[in-house]
Subunit: 175 residues, 2 copies
Amino acid sequence: MGCKKLEGEEILKKWRKIRPKERFPITVILDNIRSAYNVGSIFRTAECAYISKLILCGITPYPPHPKLEKTALGTTNLIPWIYFEKTVEAIKVLKKEGFKVAVLEITKQSIPIQKIKPEDFPLALVIGNEVTGVDEEVFAEADLIIEIPLYGEKESLNVAVAFGVAIFGLIERLF
Amino acid sequence: MGCKKLEGEEILKKWRKIRPKERFPITVILDNIRSAYNVGSIFRTAECAYISKLILCGITPYPPHPKLEKTALGTTNLIPWIYFEKTVEAIKVLKKEGFKVAVLEITKQSIPIQKIKPEDFPLALVIGNEVTGVDEEVFAEADLIIEIPLYGEKESLNVAVAFGVAIFGLIERLF
């Protein structure tokens, strides 16, 4: 095809064309994520997805934090974020503000992301710990449990990758 | 909701139910990816997505490799892979086998992943270097250039996250 790659200012111009006037009506709750690298990566992806807010809960590392900044690549100042000690408290605040709460996890009740409808927004997406997942008391507050359909033999996705797949899948449901 | 999380064998059962009889008709070409951690993460995601094959080219690290195995989490034996010194040679082989070649990159000509149609498969997805992207000679062989629509102010996605978003977005186009 011999096409030219876009660089710097050109990429910015292309992005500006498709950026919506307001941030997408999705807030993401990180429930006791362990790895600062994963949290930094989630900041970077969240900025690209132009979501409303990140809420970091429990043991989740938060800025300023050298390891987190390493993978966030300068995005911690570009996306609104807040820290809550208890995930359930954050969820209760969002529910009062009219958010539906969706936990990302594979369970008997979980539905594929593709089944989310425009009326499910504003949506609070809860992402659980890398090993133990989301706490039972958080499940008890959830309106929906959603999953990324996986087709392999054995493994699960890395939490930062799963977040990326989920968030861009959810944004698609808004159009 | 108080639902129970699935564990171990239960998760496997759920996955087996939705696993297709054959791997999805997507082969992924890694064109000079630098980081072994990113490559390992791509192996892990590729296994979950049940794609046909990974082709590792140029400087891309390949198994056995300790850093790669660390993020691949045991998936390097679960997904067919092969190494080619030259990316363009791999592309030529796949084209002879009837694959359409799609480069993942933001350019003036790129179309959103969502525009890929079932008739574009079998598809070879080319993922470029973390900093320099895909080589010009690879672009010259591409049938399509696809992009993940990004809405943020500044940054781009990490290559392993971008791969995850792209591959699950492509699989959705098959249904």
